[in-house]
């Protein structure tokens, strides 16, 4: 047999954490949130107690089957899981190599993988008795997913968003407002996602007693990278079981886009011990690494400390965070989750830059060939997978995380085409 197939998870694919493995290099983070030298909890003293409390609560709840039962119930009846695994036959033909199979996170309620995480964190907020939710958002997807769960649980919700992003993503801003959230324009710094995160941290420090901060990606201070990964790992658990069911074996490769990296770690994590499964993280190559206008922190950044964790960052020689660029607002972030930083260093995952141009080509191809309009973020993964598929044989298959749908990007695409809608 060509593949090292690790033991199937001892738990049902839609309930709780996989506890079938003894501790090994992939069971991180350690007690203080480290993945190798990355991660940790680098926050101001006022917030240390808050992240420690969250860690304690999550440690306890994550061992409680009743918690996961409620999470699973919400995922099934509210989010619409499991999401299908779909063989993209015409796209596969176009590249003439390995089968391209899409994990359809775009079909989730609110249109992206983000809701898997906000469902879990909202349950935590409710358990901790915090009546007030805050969140940061770039493209608005996490903001919408946070506003959605807040509406459902009757929690007050404030979403921080850079003023430049508010202009670019007006539909999502209005969606959040319809859901009852207060969208707060962030004017400081570069006025984008990283500054929204700074502002959310300031709010949290000020309102720490009654506020729960839902971080949208698998980054930030411990326990967020672990917790968000655990809530997103449903993607990989399903994809693993679906691959075995539909193809009789595990995929040859996995591909996901990486901004902060939550959809990617969610897909990758349940496969990390499967040695035969190659993994590719598609980063925002922007206008090309050589131009400096990109957001590929793993491919072209270096280790540093930002937003509570040590990880690869886009930083200059003086240690200042530099402005990033990507056609996709959701990947336009100068850092990345710490587990990805570690997976890069140990060589388990390959991180590759995908340019704006290649992502837009993939966007159009998937739309025309399969009738699926992907998010521009996810289009980076599709572009990477197409290239990879062409170099592989037809008896192999690749699972691509189609992390979100592209409705939110229609205006961006129209603007590129010179059309006002």
């Amino acid at each position: 047999m060509r593949y090292t197939v690790s033991k199937s998870p001892s738990v049902d694919i839609v309930s709780g954490l996989d506890t079938s493995h003894s501790a090994d290099q992939f069971s991180g983070p350690d007690l203080h949130g480290h993945f190798g030298r990355y991660g940790g909890a680098f926050v101001g003293e006022t917030l240390v107690a808050a992240v420690e409390e969250l860690d304690r609560v999550y440690q306890k709840l994550s061992k409680d089957p009743a918690f996961w039962a409620e999470y699973d119930k919400d995922l099934k009846h509210y989010v619409g899981r499991p999401s299908p695994l779909y063989f993209a036959e015409r796209l596969t033909k176009r590249y003439g190599g390995a089968k391209i199979v899409l994990k359809r996170e775009d079909l989730n309620h609110t249109g992206a993988h983000k809701i898997n995480n906000t469902i879990g964190q909202a349950l935590l907020a409710r358990f901790m008795g915090k009546p007030r939710i805050i969140a940061e958002t770039g493209a608005g997807q996490h903001g919408v997913a946070s506003a959605t769960v807040a509406a459902r649980l009757g929690l007050e919700c404030h979403v921080y968003m850079g003023v430049d992003d508010i202009k670019r993503q007006s539909a999502n801003v209005y969606r959040m407002k319809l859901l009852g959230a207060n969208v707060i324009a962030v004017e400081s710094g570069s006025r984008t996602l990283k500054d929204a995160l700074n502002e959310a941290l300031r709010d949290w420090a000020t309102n720490v007693d009654n506020t729960y901060y839902i971080i949208g990606t698998a980054a930030g201070p411990h326990p967020y990278p672990r917790m968000v990964r655990d809530f997103q790992a449903i993607i990989g658990r399903e994809a693993r079981a679906q691959s075995l069911e539909d193809f009789g074996r595990l995929p040859d490769a996995l591909v996901a886009c990486v901004g902060g990296g939550s959809n990617a770690i969610g897909l990758f994590h349940p496969f990390l011990r499967d040695e035969g499964v190659a993994m590719y993280g598609a980063e925002a190559g922007g206008e090309g690494l050589e131009t400096g206008r990109h957001a590929a922190s793993l491919s072209a950044g270096r280790p540093g400390v930002l937003h509570g964790n040590r990880t690869y960052l886009m930083t200059d020689d003086a240690g200042q965070i530099v402005e990033t660029h990507s056609v996709s607002a959701g990947l336009d972030y100068p850092g990345v989750g710490p587990e990805h930083a570690w997976l890069k260093d140990i060589g388990r995952v390959n991180y590759v830059p995908v340019t704006d141009q290649d992502a837009l080509t993939a966007f159009r191809e998937l739309t025309r060939l399969e009738g699926i309009i992907p998010a521009i973020e996810s289009s980076h993964a599709v572009a990477c997978a197409c290239k990879l598929a062409a170099e592989m044989s037809p008896d192999q298959f690749i699972v691509v995380n189609l992390s979100g749908r592209g409705d939110k990007d229609i205006q961006t695409i129209a603007a590129i085409d010179g059309i006002t809608i």
């Binding site: 680098f42 500054d195 965070i321």
Partner: protein, 273 residues
């Protein structure tokens, strides 16, 4: 005994409170910082906290964020900040200087490089806002042997267990954060600050100074009455921000920019008497 400990012990021997202004290095122009530091000493500062500008100051309020943005527009780097301390030392061998900032610029410079450069510049202490005690050993293990004090924040939310860990890693003084929030906010509960400081006294013999939310003589006196001294940041940075971003400034103009420190010092003298 470090320069910081000597300074504070000397003040305590005279039953005086410690006055520590904070300014952002390079704000609003690199060439003014050293002159401003001398002006602060003239106004009555005992120790100076010099902020290392960082693009993402997530523990700071709007006033200091703007100061940092002004300093970064001037291209102020950590190397520049160390240079400023060296230059300050040419004329002032007494006043301790504490570098305060975020970890990333130091991380990128390298801990060893930073430690030796800070010692060479005659820096007296470092306070890294986003470096909790649990993570500090690698950096502080490099600076401590060079005689540099390692200063930590203690917040209203700090637990008993963490207080012990912080005290164990602290030298020089403890910086008590008066409120839940960011720099420049308003202190809401003075009684709580007094209770916390009384409790800290049972944990440590280190001097305890209070910062965040001290903006004038009145708030300074209230906080100094229950502690060993005060740190004044936003109220000063707001005034410094009115200085021109290019061209020279007269001594009188600089003295005027730091007038809030002068008036707080006067008020503290009266408090002492």
């Amino acid at each position: 005994m470090s320069r910081i400990s000597k300074t504070i012990a000397g003040l305590q021997a005279q039953n005086k409170k410690v006055l520590i202004p904070y300014l952002v290095a390079g704000d609003p122009q690199k060439g003014l910082t050293v002159d401003l530091m001398h002006a602060l000493v003239r106004a009555g500062a005992h120790i100076i906290e010099l902020g290392i500008p960082f693009s993402d100051p997530s523990s700071d309020g709007a006033v200091i964020q703007l100061g940092v943005e002004r300093a970064l527009r001037q291209g102020t780097t950590l190397s520049d900040v160390l240079e400023m301390v060296s230059e300050f030392r040419r004329r002032d061998k007494q006043t301790p200087v504490v570098l305060m900032g975020y970890l990333n610029p130091i991380e990128i410079m390298g801990y060893g490089n930073f430690a030796s450069a800070a010692a060479a510049a005659d820096v007296d202490g470092v306070l890294i806002v986003d470096l909790p005690a649990y993570e500090c050993e690698e950096l502080f293990g490099a600076v401590r042997p060079l005689g540099i004090d390692t200063i930590f924040l203690i917040a209203p939310t700090t637990t008993q267990e963490r207080t012990a860990a912080i005290c164990a890693n602290s030298t020089g003084y403890l910086y008590y954060v008066s409120l839940k929030g960011v720099t420049g906010a308003a202190i809401r509960d003075k009684g709580e600050v007094a209770d916390k400081i009384a409790h800290l006294r049972s944990e440590t013999n280190l001097p305890i100074v209070v910062g965040f939310g001290i903006k004038d003589a009145q708030s300074a006196c209230e906080m100094a009455a229950i502690s060993d001294g005060v740190i004044v940041g936003s109220a000063l940075v707001e005034r410094i921000g009115l200085l021109p971003t290019q061209g020279a400034c007269s001594s009188a103009r600089l003295d005027d920019a730091v007038a809030v420190i002068f008036s707080i010092n006067e008020a503290l003298q009266n408090l002492n008497n």
